[in-house]
Symmetry: C3
Subunit: 205 residues, 3 copies
Amino acid sequence: MALRFRPADASFYDMFSTLAAQLVNGAGLLNEVFTEGTDRAALADRMREAEHSADEATHEIIRRVNTTFVTPFDREDIYALASALDDVMDFMEEAVDMVLLYEIDDLPPELAEQVSVIQRCAEVTADSMPRLQSMKNLDEFWIEINRLENAGDKHYRRILAKLFNGELEALEVMKLKDVVDSLEAAIDAFESVANVVEQIAVKES
Amino acid sequence: MALRFRPADASFYDMFSTLAAQLVNGAGLLNEVFTEGTDRAALADRMREAEHSADEATHEIIRRVNTTFVTPFDREDIYALASALDDVMDFMEEAVDMVLLYEIDDLPPELAEQVSVIQRCAEVTADSMPRLQSMKNLDEFWIEINRLENAGDKHYRRILAKLFNGELEALEVMKLKDVVDSLEAAIDAFESVANVVEQIAVKES
Amino acid sequence: MALRFRPADASFYDMFSTLAAQLVNGAGLLNEVFTEGTDRAALADRMREAEHSADEATHEIIRRVNTTFVTPFDREDIYALASALDDVMDFMEEAVDMVLLYEIDDLPPELAEQVSVIQRCAEVTADSMPRLQSMKNLDEFWIEINRLENAGDKHYRRILAKLFNGELEALEVMKLKDVVDSLEAAIDAFESVANVVEQIAVKES
């Protein structure tokens, strides 16, 4: 336990919990891209709104950091955590946007597996944020994110090998690779979230 | 107004103004790529020189931060501002370089629109840098950059949709996409500049 | 010489030296991809192990920073140095992985030249790390890395021009470009290492 006592602004925990809950919502929208008969244009609009809300929540955290005298963790860790959470949403929105923009009709089923990984990452992240206050059982969080990231990496490599096996046209490969890379970037951003949380926990221990 | 008094080195404002003025020059060179009959090899040389000058100006700022006891803003904000300004130049130079390297003959007119956005970003950035000293009217700056970034994003998406509509050969798409992505990265770097300026202003208010 | 006296934990120098030595090993493995008759699957396994070891060494440094009261340099410089060294390994591993994953049979000889640049960067980096303790002759290090980065950049541009000259199929270009970009990113990460070292040296001077 750290010796310093911080009568810190408790609202930071709520703000991070809110932002992480938005990621669960965003990951659900991302998943709808794979549902037969989805109105993709309407879905992209809802995704854009979700991304906009996350932007505002992130901005609110950063504004609070800059104007609060005593913060519950080091300022740079709060920045890094807020940015990494916001990055997740940006990459999810990017993926949905590209499916629409490139008019991709056939999404390989392996991409839906990758989206399931993202949904699970969002859930464990949302579960962990309130625990930042007690600093209890946070190791379960980063261990699970690392496990999911490894699973996601295996999917990613299998998808790439399939994209480049010569069956698809080059232009189709380029389009799908952009989507796949956005999903991969979202998972990597969850890993950054877990790294920051681990760093916060080490400093406080 | 912050209570702390900083007898800070005023030359930082001049150094940032100089660096931003170099971006206006660089954006002008970038625009010449689209002028009929331009000697592109000569242009790429001038662009490389501009990029080299910006590197030196950035290096000078960072050296000054590291050797100055009292800085006008937090050290990490000075680093972040200098780096973001330097990134803009790097991406503009990259775009010119790729047009030459890939021997791209037909540049879609939509790219010229995107370059206009970059030129406007450079101008408002150069206008705002001297105002860092008085901290007055800086909100106009980041609001305008955000507006320009939104406009640039709409162009970017329209250009991508056109590149991938099946009319162009895959290799041509790959070349143009590299150029378009460099322009997009330059605009994103301007947005980072605006974010740092906003952060500095919030801390000082 | 800085006035402050830091009875700092000397093990940081050893930890950085260990991590940099792992890069020399990794660059050697990367070079084996170009050796006729290499068992690439076995090589990729060894590369993955090397990457895993570097991850652990990096993690160890960061854990030490977070739990040590007096560090030999600013904490953020230690983070930045460890991260940049770790990035080099990640990009080298990525390059090997892609050669295997994409089943690339013909690697252009220019790529081997680029790998030579990376090997040389790794050697001068490993040589320089122990000198962080005495702070002597570090300028030789960043000057040499900058020279190598310039050479690498010339190779990179020549390789890109060749990839896009129309002789290769689009899908083949995409595969090779991914490998080439990973090598380029490794060299850029060495440049980041050199920049951090220069920054540390300036602060201490």
